[in-house]
Amino acid sequence: MQRSLRGRAAVIGIGETPYYKRGEAPEPEFKLALSAIVAACEDAGISPKRLDGFASYSNDRSDPSRLAAALGIDELRFANMQWGGGGGGGSAAIANAAAAIASGMAECVVVFRALAQGQFGRFGQGPRRNVIAGEMAHAVPYGLMSPAQMFAMKVKRFMHEHGVEQAALRSIALACYHHAQNNPRAVMNGRPLTEEKYDASRWIVEPFHLFDCCLENDGAAAMVLVSAERAAEAEHAPCYLLGAAAGSHHRAGAPVHNAPDYATSAFKTIAPRLYAMAGVGPGDVDVLQSYENFTGGVLMSIVEHGFCEADGCNEFFVKENLVAPGGTLPLNTSGGNLAECYMHGLGLNIEAVRQVRGVSTSQVPGVEVSMVVSGPMVTPVSSCIFGSGATL
């Protein structure tokens, strides 16, 4: 038997709450999670009581047993958390759900992520205490304490090694904001970005301007997966998972910035496994959603997934190449984490499904292969590829 997830499971339902500015959700995080899960089940045309598994990542606080109780589901069979912080687990959670289905451990699994920072405190803030110990003691006292500061160091090195100019990062921000203008759900809808506005924006930490950094939002997102056999009877045309891969390279987690291969999004070993399972290559990908914690991570992710040479970034990363419908590689067509919503990237996976269904607000014509890259520069990271029925 072939050891692959290709075509074994499919997304049949997607759901989101409205997206709010951070701290502004009118409801608690757990209620947001429930709302998104119920919405995904409604979209799938199934009762939430038919769910039997939950998969999430980044230490989501909504406990599967509590969700199962609140939803009144009959039997919980799969409760899964992908280790690691940031958005690195987004596509891995989908892979874990599909693996549970393919192996017969569960029948109908919902992947979800919920965030309410008003209730639980903000990301990106330095620790407020008198002393600090452990790995952080070797960074925080030097003023290195936020994700932007952790990752700027990698991106600066990559830009140095490959002569990447600031304009390449800017093009990524411009593409995301461009797509957000078509998306009424996007938090930055109605707030377009220009080259001038980007250039004039303040530095957060060089090489990141304000607009190179993701938003922080409240909300929740969910998607329902079932076996390919069951998906064939679903309301929407199934969006099949063609492949997924997660992990990181040798000693990516070495402490205090000591990963031997340092200036990387951490996808060099993941991308070949992803494409091998999916049975496609970068040239087959019609549209890409690539997680923006920071634009520099997107740039390295795109290089490491084989869309562009490391030394060719200045030519490849121009806005026209990255926008739907006609760009070479339409990127983050909902507005992504920069301009739609920062739901730790699960919104990107949902947008990838919309592209296969043909219902994105920045639709690329005739999408058959739709790819997602989750959480560059953290460890573990993950990526996945969805396909239409025609790809099976």
Binding site: G126, N130, G134, Q149, K156, R157, N258
Partner: protein
Amino acid sequence: MSYLKPGLPKPVPARDGLDAPFWAAAAQGILTLQRCNACGRWQWGPEWICHHCLSDDLAFEAVEPRGRIYSYERVWHPVHPALKDQGPYLIVLVEFPDQDGVRMIGNLLGDPEQEVIIGAPVKAVFEHHPDDDPPYTLVQWTAWNLNA
């Protein structure tokens, strides 16, 4: 003299003791890195076993307090109240080519708006805070000229 304004969390040895020898040596103005007594490999930050040969016979060995800039960043936006009026500051990732290329984080002393050159040699400057509670020492970095 402190490079950053006071009020950031102060480093203390890990409760499990893993990096305690490093901080004790730094207080004496000695830079140490972790080395495996079995296979001779260097590693940083500290681990309980050697990542190469898995021996737990590890030591903190004094090294020449010199390295070169592997990467750097200029921070503008403060994420801690202590740095509200700091203005820009420089963080460097310093590489030790003679110690298997292991790296350490610190600040680059001097003008925060100076041009920073990746690959440039730097030497350690120990920033002692003996009167703080608890006392601590930071390992900072400054540019130096190989030919001077």
